[in-house]
């Protein structure tokens, strides 16, 4: 595999604790990959390894075939937008943006022109003499982006770029960033713990846990075909419960669940689960509510959360397992006795994993 930016089996330990564990990733030129994971999953460390602030204990980072693993950040020509922007508070907007250009030896007219062009790119033309303190959060973020892009780096790194904006601004800024980065066409690695952010910004999303790459794929792939129970649980809404695989069925497998037996499609291309206990991960929309009866798992509705076109009902099976089911908002009332069935929709939404996986 040849990519423009390649991470080859990166390992980083802090005081003996693995922060990044044999992480390999390859990005095509101009591709944007989002590193998504809970805190402590190693995504920020990976970004810092890419920037050169940390040196890996093993593994390599290659850009366009050049090994930059041990190249100092100063010489690496990677642009970075920091979580809190790290704008120089004593310099104005123009001086901030020109900072990286000066390192390239640019002076005078060319310098100001390039800085102006970078500001134009983020829609802040004419803001050169503003002080950082006079800018709104969104504007600061764009200045940080302009500053990182001005020296035309080889790779752009974004560390939680939206976490400091208020929620109303986030969605709009997300569109703007995506559009801008695609226009510039720069290879980008983004760190985030927000699934929405990763899904909108990343051409592909890398899900990390405990320093390991759990799955790399497009947002659709991650949702419809999670590689394991962790990814399935981390991406989107789902309930998980232990079931027993009875044996193969014409189109999938037959499982015993809460006193009922279901025949389910266990996900395309997934290795068959041998008969015995298994972990079932199920999306709310893959289940439906029925009157209690044959083939349905008996349960009691304990709560309801309204989400617009449908509602998410919280149900507890008679065995005490919790399930989340999507249904029309007024399907049932809390306290009602119901049966739960897989929705008629064929395939997808229900995944079986071996139990030993966490």
């Amino acid at each position: 595999m040849t990519g423009f930016l390649r991470l080859e089996a990166l390992v980083k330990r802090f005081d003996g604790v693995l922060a990044v564990d044999r992480l390999s990733l390859s990005l095509a030129r101009g591709e944007m990959v989002a590193l998504l994971g809970p805190s402590g999953s190693g995504k920020t460390t990976t970004l810092r390894l890419l920037a050169g602030f940390e040196t890996p204990d093993a593994g390599r980072v290659l850009v366009d075939g050049e090994d930059v693993t041990r190249v100092e950040p100063v010489a690496r020509r990677f642009g970075m937008v920091f979580q809190h922007y790290a704008l120089f508070p004593h310099l104005d907007v123009g001086e901030n943006v020109a900072f990286g250009l000066e390192s390239l030896g640019l002076r005078g007219h060319e310098l100001t022109q390039r800085a102006a062009r970078a500001l134009d790119l983020v829609d802040l033309a004419g803001y050169e003499r503003r002080h950082i303190g006079q800018l709104s959060g969104g504007q600061q973020q764009r200045v940080a982006l302009a500053r990182a892009l001005a020296p035309e780096p080889r790779v752009l790194l974004l560390d939680e770029p939206l976490s400091n904006l208020d929620p109303t601004l986030r969605e709009r800024t997300r569109h703007e960033i995506r559009e801008l980065i695609h226009r510039v066409g720069i290879t980008t690695v983004l760190v985030t713990h927000e699934q929405d952010e990763a899904f909108e910004l990343g051409d592909r999303v890398a899900v990390l846990r405990d320093g390991r790459l759990e799955q790399l794929g497009t947002p659709d792939e991650l949702y419809t075909a999670p590689a394991n129970a962790f990814v399935g649980g981390f991406i989107g809404r789902s309930s998980r419960l232990e079931v027993t695989v009875v044996g193969p069925a014409p189109r999938g497998v037959r499982i015993a669940i809460g006193g009922a037996e279901w025949e389910i499609d266990a996900g395309p291309g997934r290795p068959a689960i041998p008969p015995g206990p298994a972990m079932m991960l199920v999306r709310p929309e893959a289940l439906r509510l029925t009157p209690p009866g044959a083939g349905a798992v008996p349960a009691t509705i304990t709560g309801r959360r309204f989400v617009g076109p449908s509602a998410l009902f919280r149900a507890v099976t008679d065995q005490g397992a919790g399930l989340e089911v999507a249904a029309p908002p007024h399907a049932v009332v809390p306290g009602a006795r119901v049966g739960i069935m897989p929705s008629r929709r064929e395939g997808g939404g229900i995944h079986l994993f071996p139990v030993e996986e966490r």
Binding site: P73, G79, M80, A86, H90, G100
Partner: protein, 551 residues
Amino acid sequence: MRGEQRRQIVGAGILVLLLWLVVYPLLLVLVEGLHGPRGWTLEFVRLFLHRPTEWRALWGSLWISLVSVVLAAVVGIPLALLFGRYDLPGGRVLSGLVALPAVLPPLVGVLAFLFLYGESGFVSLLVQRLLGLEEPPWRLQGAGAILLVHAYSMYVYFYLFTRAALGSLDASLLEAASSLGAGRWRRLRQVVLPHLYPALGGAALLTFMTSLASFSAPYIFGGGFRVMTTQIVATRLNGENELAMVETISLTLVALLALWLLRGGRAPEASGGRKGSGPTRVPVRRPGMRLLLAVVAWGLAAFLLLPHLTLLLVSFVPLGTWTTEPLPPAYTLRNYLALVTDPVRSRPLLNSLWLASAATAAAVGIALLASLLGVGRRVRGARLVEGLLALPWAVPGTVFAIAIATAFSVRAPWAGRFILVGTIWILPLAYLVRNLPITSRAILAGVRALDPSLDEAAATLGAGRWRTLRRVTLPLLRPAVLAGASLAFVTAFGDFVTSVMLYTYDTRPISMEILSSLRQSDVGVAAAYGVVLMLVSAAVFAVGAERGGGG
């Protein structure tokens, strides 16, 4: 990496430098106190223990310091509560004035008190005349005089610390307490006071240490009453050098013990990133109360300003003209002109300027280097360096003066000792050591407050170590450096306690010239020096606070 190695080497260099300047002289004092002509001996310790005068001096130091803490607290805390709680007429100006004694260098404060309440002082004469007395109504001497000066100059610690702590009190805590049914007194007792305790502890520690180290007031007003600082100087003048060393050790031990006992106290944080706003001030509505409070407050301000004003007044009095009149009969600018035109008179001014500047520059350099190397990096001995930088704060100035005089009066290059006593280098060196704690505390705080990602941002933008330092780090540290430097400069500029033991005629600083003018009864010139000292201190403070505090 080579950069890392270089960092370790520079760090080790600073450590050695600090050990040599801060610890080594103190150890030499210990050695000299325990070492006689025939080897190691406890003879001088025994001498110390058997002399009642020594015990009296040590006890004097202790109780003066304790009573100073009480007096300063009694004046400072109510003032802070008053100005912090009520919106008084002219409160803004007043609360600034109340901090004024802080800009009075100790010797100048003593001088002003002498002119005010001394035997032929302004107030004394006034009272004598009003009551028709033959003699001055009181003598400004002994413990009472010392305590008066201490209370006047040190209540500011309690005032400022309490004000800061009150300002950081989250008003919603008080609101929560009232909503839970706590009345005014219960709120004060259970919410406000517990919040103030750390600040009060910090102020108590600062006051105690300052009075323990106080030299100017006991030296001028003490008369027969001795505290340890003045006792050390007297013993040294008597030629009992080893005994002076033992005295120095005893004072150091008391200081370190006090620091250890009171270590829980800490200065309030200037402003936390905490949410919630400080309690708003209550406007005083009742006109009668308002008038009363205003009169009390402004009367107090006048009392606080009196020393400064007296100094100013006396500085315009021609030599020998003001004897028994309540106000000077004649005024002149000659005292000030002499400072500029007479080379003998202008010399101390220039001396103090360059001595203080050199010491401050060196202290800033060392503090910057140590802070930048140590913070956030795993440099071996970073904590030790921090401790060494702070140590001179805990040790009275007299002790350091003795220690440095001891260490640098012998030529033994292989032992790191050179003859600097009697040269122009001894005073800057002594000032430098004394300035290290204040400078490094300010600069260290500044470095700690820097966002480390700024350095990283500069690196990703291709700026190397030096360009980052020049364009990012140093400009951002400017406020902290200015704050630290201004404090250090003011302390060195007005220094008396180390100068009195180490100065040479060629490097005599302002404080020594004030003392000698006073001895020649040339009070006008002494006051003029005092005014210059006060104004320069205030100006430097203002610059430091404006550039430093504003950002």
